[in-house]
Amino acid sequence: MSTTLKRVHGYLAEFDNVQDLYHAAEHVRDAGYNRWDVHSPFPIHGMDKAMGNPRSNLPKLVFCGGITGTTVAFILQTVTQTNFWSSLGLGFLQEIVETYPTVVQAKPTDIWTLPAFFPVMFELTILFSAFTTLFGLLALMGLPRWNHPLFASKRFAKFSDDSFFVCIEARDPKFSQDGTKALLEKIGGKNIELVEDEI
């Protein structure tokens, strides 16, 4: 006979519709919980307010990504195709890439050829921003993640179909076996279950 240690992950309560979930979220927020979440098949308009969530920090990351893209494109093009860095006394930058500027189309080889570089600067700004969005999002969400205690719940699989859940985690300082369960019952949660995590 083997024994497995289990750790309580939290309480999971099911709700029938968006409206009930929304009001439930307001109650949990007002009860002062922090480590909790609502799970729904689609994003619910206004739920951030109901939960008291802060705004996502993703735009700041993406802005940095975009700036990086612009800079990379500027450096790539000016180093390989102009004398801009030598004129600043930074000729070693050009020596590194051992370049032959392409002198065609009667376009200048100094910094004043910059407008011809705008399209690539624009494209790399977008490219870097988009990848920053993707990877920044994954980092903020803590995904990809292969398993999660919630996946142990049979009912939870319906979150991606037509059911709505509130999960209050045991990590929350206000969590208590009885108090949290009572709160979930009071706000109309159904099929309340204790989700455990094997350790």
Binding site: H39, P41, I44, N53, S56, P119, G136, D161, C167
Partner: protein
Amino acid sequence: MEASASNTPRILDREPLVLNNRSYSWITNRICGIVENKQPALWWILFVPSVLLTGLMVFCFAYLISTGVGVWGQKQPVAWAWDITNFVFWIGIGHAGTLISAILFLTRQKWRTSVNRAAEAMTIFAVMCAGLFPAFHVGRVWMVWFLAPIPNANAIWQNFKSPLLWDVFAVSTYFSVSLVFWFLGLVPDLATLRDRCRPGLKKFFYGLFALGWRGGNRHWSHYETAYMLLAALSTPLVLSVHSVVSFDFATSVVPGWHTTIFPPYFVAGAIFGGFAMVLTLMIPVRRIYGLDDLLTPKHVDNMAKIILLTGTIVGYAYCMELFMAYYSANPYEAAAFTLRGLTGPSIWAYALMFSFNVFAPQLFWYRPFRHNMWVVMFVCMCVNMGMWYERYVIIATTLERHMTPGSWGEYSATWVDQWTFVGTFGFFMMLFLLFLRFLPVIAIGEVKGVLPQSDPHFDDHAEKGIQEEDLMAYPDRHVAKPIAA
């Protein structure tokens, strides 16, 4: 006058985006059912020829590699012909997908949710087809990595001042960003498929790409921000891609190409042709897979209106080109258009372009035509062909009649040109059919999100009986006549 409860003015509901009050689980079952059930016979009837045509495309490219790029029909003076025409054609197709997923998202057009997934898939597959042509056009396709800014033994870097290189960056960025956008949109739906599968290989792969999605609002919050950011990034991107494609022509000194109208004209044409392709694909899909409640006549109607709008912009651009050729008093410019439309060897192509792109969509002014799927399909087929001819007219017929008559020549496509192009259709169809087979064709989560019951204040609205936003936006349009007691 007494106003009883029964005859107080009511607000007419907007046409619902999902018909017959379908529930969340109906939507899940219907869309996942396409992936989970056996495919209809028609799927196989289309899939087998598509695979064969893909094989033909591979053969044509192999023949080109082993023999030389001369197996295509272009020679001086027509150095850009079917290949570049096909490139511009396919890349243009993609634009509708990004327009639907990004621009209609930013403008809060909720009806986009039923079409955006398939349209984005179409974008990605069309860009894949497009990319093949310039890659093989360079002549030595195994040297195509020279297009990428990688240090090489020759110490020669790309000419970043050339519109052709801008194009490399624009198209590759477009492909990458479209793929990221599409994948991000798929994640919640892949989780739905994962949760419905029995343990096994399928569940493994859906689970792998669903990234462990749990639909938590703390995730949705970041996710929606990311989606908005990608939409905001894709919007200028999609406008830039076809603008940059048009720079390939507009920055040259060839009469008929050297015009400032090209970027907006190309972008409008791309969206126009792309929407025709979206409808060409989606009208059969909604019928075959029984998605009529999700892809309603309202959706088709909206897209037909966009085709009418962009087709009219394209028509305006055609006329403005002619006017500028006359008004600029530039004899070469004037000659280019006279030869294109009146006296040159390919006036048939110009006539086809004009009638397919400008005249055919005018049918959409009439509402019953926009609601008749056969008429819509007919117009879309015209537009699909017309937009190919537009590029052919711009590219090949212009080069046939260059500056001096001494450098004039005639162009005709070879069988390799023709079968390569047909082959890319097979490749495109094969990818699209595989997409139907393995991935949810409609964004399940997004469609659920636009149902009326998904509004957290739905109950309050139901009590009041009116939607105040509607009242504010349209003070009188939504007020119905009082119902007689």
